[in-house]
């Protein structure tokens, strides 16, 4: 049966792709549809047609922003792919710390914050052993809803049990007083962790306003939602923000597409990272 919302879905899919690069196609239109329905409900509109009218004809910025936000998939957990964190500490961060270097890390699609907080826990543990070691984490995402939660550092009982060891829970979280009948309580990340992370809004497809360069960039589980061209564009941009020989970390199912002149895939015992290859100019001077 022909989907009555077909042309409307196509309109929103095109808008989403243009603004944030996330691909929705016929296969995933049903997901897009249910997300748009939640937008209709959120703004108390009467139909999908009205939503379309508001965005396409009236160019309502507030609604458009909200649609782009709900188009993102924010699924994440603490220590997602735990081996990645272990390997980062062992193979990349410890050697830098041993040289007396401080470490600057960018979590480039941090969602609700579990990724940068997990890193911060590991780095603080390292700092306890090596007092002069210092680090900072820049955490960005497109989704304002996800960022608000990340900044608050407040998680449900179910969320603090996904991937997070109990020792870390009691060490780095404060339990909030019980407020309603829902099972369990909320938990808030403590200030010691928060103070090492700065959260901000950032669209990977817009002009890059980030300053400085990084020892590690994590860009995990975001490229899978992007088209090949956008992946290429993002990876190419990231290259400029990495210090020489430092590492890009992608999701376990993601790779560097055809950018083998920018990155070298490096397989460690339990994880694979992508080492920045020195820029073209350097290679020319080597001739």
């Amino acid at each position: 049966m022909e989907d009555l919302n077909g042309p409307i879905l196509k309109f929103f899919a095109d808008l989403i792709f243009k603004e944030i690069g996330i691909v929705y196609n016929e296969m995933t239109f049903y997901q897009l549809e249910s997300r748009l329905e939640s937008v209709v409900a959120h703004f108390e509109l009467d139909s999908m047609e009205t939503l379309h009218h508001k965005v396409a004809k009236l160019r309502d910025q507030k609604i458009t922003k909200y649609i782009l936000d709900v188009a993102t998939n924010n699924e994440t957990s603490f220590f997602r792919d735990a081996k990645v964190f272990k390997t980062l500490i062992r193979e990349v961060i410890k050697p830098l710390a041993a040289e007396g270097k401080s470490v600057r890390i960018w979590s480039a699609a941090c969602s609700t914050g579990q990724e940068p907080y997990s890193l911060a826990m590991e780095l603080l543990t390292l700092q306890k052993k090596q007092k002069d070691f210092d680090f900072s984490i820049v955490a960005t995402d497109y989704s304002q809803r996800a960022l608000d939660k990340a900044k608050s550092g407040i998680y449900t009982q179910l969320e603090v049990q996904r991937g997070l060891g109990s020792a870390n829970l009691v060490k780095y979280f404060n339990q909030k007083p019980k407020v309603d009948d829902r099972p369990g309580t909320l938990w808030e990340v403590n200030d010691e962790l928060k103070k090492h992370i700065s959260f901000s809004h950032f669209n990977l497809l817009e002009a890059w306003s980030i300053t400085g360069s990084f020892d590690i960039i994590l860009c995990r589980n975001v490229l899978i939602y992007q088209s090949l061209e956008k992946r290429y564009e993002i990876l190419k941009n990231m290259h400029r923000y990495l210090k020489d020989d430092s590492y890009l970390v992608l999701g376990c199912a993601e790779s560097i597409s055809n950018l083998s002149d920018c990155y070298e895939s490096t397989q460690f015992e339990e994880a694979r990272f992508f080492r920045k290859l020195a820029t073209q100019t350097k290679r020319v001077s080597n001739l």
Binding site: Q161, G163, A167, V170, N174, G184, T185
Partner: protein, 122 residues
């Protein structure tokens, strides 16, 4: 893997059994702390113990203490509705390896099991 499930509630046993339905693992069942201790004494090669806290006769945390005092090094995961930071710290101090707050999901249980087993290997 051989897993000893300890809880005074039959429905918790059923719930956990359902989570393991599609797996090759063997579940053993105990309904209070003393039964858990007896099972550990009588069974070889238990890989991990799931331990409820509030149970008649011998409670979970009492069983935990007795097992550790007796020298048992089997990984222990507390699975309980006591969800206070004090309780968690106490259990960890007495030698629990991980702590699960009820209600929990299959993902949480499996991830916590993986965590304790991996630490044991490391």
């Amino acid at each position: 893997m051989k897993i000893l499930v300890t809880d005074d509630s039959k429905s918790v046993h059923g719930f956990i059994e359902a989570m393991f339905a599609e797996t090759e693992h063997t579940l053993l069942h105990a309904y209070d702390g003393q039964q858990a201790i007896d099972t550990v004494a009588g069974e070889q090669n238990i890989d991990v113990i799931l331990l409820d806290w509030e149970m008649p006769n011998v409670t979970g945390v009492e069983a935990l203490k007795k097992l550790r005092d007796g020298g048992s090094e089997i990984p222990i995961v507390m699975v309980t509705s006591k969800n206070n930071v004090k309780d968690i710290s106490e259990a960890l101090t007495f030698g629990a390896d991980e702590y699960i707050m009820k209600p929990f999901t299959k993902d949480i249980l499996f991830e916590k099991l993986e965590m304790v087993l991996e630490r044991k290997v490391a």
